[in-house]
């Protein structure tokens, strides 16, 4: 069963990581879901697939009143990101789904109607959560052609979707990266194959290096914190991406 871990708290401002599902069927890629809570509202980042909905929902409910969910942030259009949309809407029909304008007419295949979607322009947007300002920052072509990360300047957390993802062996259950050089081995093949554009990657690394980030939280694998954040950005900047085989 998944569990929600509080990775940041400052009064009524919290980040929950719903991570590392040891009981999900093995043929489904393991995903992390994140919940940003501020005041009376909550935003769910990359809620995951249909198959894991019950375990994500119950993990979320254990830590936060699910009726406070105001929106869903979908970094991109993949099924492991957002195929559970219809289920979240079944629970709360007025949820808003923030996603790239590129996927505005694609995501309704997973659920929702016109009024569900808030299209994010290519340049990004500010998402307000009960007074807190979150920034959807462009990460196009990393890997999806319409792709956004979510930056919380107050918590100094960057939710980075598939960037930073590591496909960890089943016995690696740590929430945070323990040993960067050991960890990054599990990220290399993924980034080489999934990230398609070297230009987009360099641009992202430059922009993100200018942000104050305490934690870089990816959709797969463990969380980078402290010095590991810049370590990761440097590693990524130097990595050759868009290659079929290493």
């Amino acid at each position: 069963m998944k569990q929600a871990h509080c990775i940041y708290q400052d009064e009524d401002h919290r980040w929950l990581a719903i991570a590392r599902d040891t009981t999900k069927p093995g043929y489904i890629i393991d995903t992390n879901e994140y919940v940003v809570i501020h005041g009376e509202e909550a935003l769910l980042c990359d809620p995951g697939g249909i198959e894991i909905f019950p375990s994500v929902f119950s993990a979320l409910s254990a830590e936060c009143d699910p009726t406070r969910l105001a929106g869903i942030f979908a970094s991109h259009q993949d099924p492991d990101i957002i195929s559970s949309l219809a289920l979240w809407l079944e629970f709360k029909p007025d949820l808003k789904c923030y996603t790239s304008w590129l996927w505005q007419s694609f995501l309704p295949h997973f659920g929702g109607q016109d009024s569900t979607f808030v299209p994010i322009p290519d340049s990004g947007v500010t998402i307000r959560l009960d007074g807190l300002e979150l920034q959807a920052i462009p990460a196009h072509y990393l890997h999806s052609s319409g792709n956004f990360h979510l930056y919380d300047p107050k918590a100094k957390i960057l939710f980075s979707g598939d960037v930073g993802a590591a496909l960890l062996p089943a016995d690696h259950n740590e929430l945070y990266v323990q040993d960067f050089s050991r960890h990054i081995r599990h990220a290399e093949g993924f980034h080489k194959r999934w990230m398609g554009s070297d230009r987009a990657k360099r641009d992202w690394c430059e922009r993100v290096s200018r942000l104050e980030i305490d934690m870089l939280v990816p959709q797969h694998g463990a969380i980078y914190q402290g010095a590991d954040v810049q370590r990761f950005i440097n590693w990524f900047a130097a990595l050759e991406v868009g290659v079929l085989r290493s």
Binding site: T23, F53, P54, S55, F57, D65, P66, T67, E90, F91
Partner: protein
């Protein structure tokens, strides 16, 4: 190590509705094909009767009637088919709603009782499902009524085929040929009757 929780994979979704529609459609297709055959057979019978001349006047009249019957049947089947293809959408809606409801129910169960919003969500889902099922049920009733109407039409076809057999006996030197044609008619109509019986037993929604 956590013990694996029972999950919603164990909940058997109520499928089979779509499969049922497919069966209904296949049966309708078979009847349409047969109706087309009757039409051709009736045309042949009309020519045969013309060649037989005075000896087959009655047979000729019946052949014309059978041809009209085949055309009526084709029309009936076309409207039946329209009904079932419309119901594919409704059935899909129900199947989808059932699946969503089952997964959400599992999520609420895992979350324990008293999750805020749980009752409202359950009620909303149940209402939507009930609405869809009402729609499906009325479609089912319409389909059944249409099948019954077609069955009556086919009864008439059966009477025509039997009369044709009797008329064939008076066909003089053409008698054997006319008899063969009317026997074929009777067989094909019996086949349609069987198909309609199967169709009449199918239900789009289980009671």
């Amino acid at each position: 190590m956590n013990a694996p929780e029972p999950n919603f994979h164990g909940i058997a979704p109520r499928t089979g509705e779509l499969a049922r529609i497919v069966r209904v459609n296949e049966e309708i297709k078979a009847i349409v094909a047969t109706a087309f055959r009757i039409n051709l057979m009736a045309l042949n019978a009309i020519f045969l009767a013309k060649r037989a001349g005075n000896a087959a006047l009655g047979f000729g009249v019946l052949s014309n009637e059978l041809r009209r019957f085949a055309q009526d049947l084709t029309r009936h089947m076309a409207s039946l088919r329209e009904m079932t293809s419309g119901s594919v959408g409704s059935v899909t809606g129900v199947v989808q709603q059932q699946r969503i409801a089952a997964i959400l129910a599992e999520a609420l169960r895992l979350s324990g009782d008293g999750v805020p919003g749980a009752r409202e969500a359950r009620r909303r889902g149940a209402t939507r499902l009930a609405e869809q099922q009402v729609r499906l049920r009325s479609l089912d009733l319409r389909l059944r009524a249409a099948v019954e109407e077609t069955q009556q039409l086919v009864e008439l076809g059966g009477v025509l085929a039997r009369s044709a057999k009797i008329e064939a006996a008076y066909g003089g030197s053409f008698s054997a040929a006319l008899m063969q044609v009317s026997t074929d008619f009777a067989e094909v109509i019996a086949q349609i009757k069987r198909s309609l019986e199967v169709l009449g037993k199918e239900r789009l929604v289980k009671d």
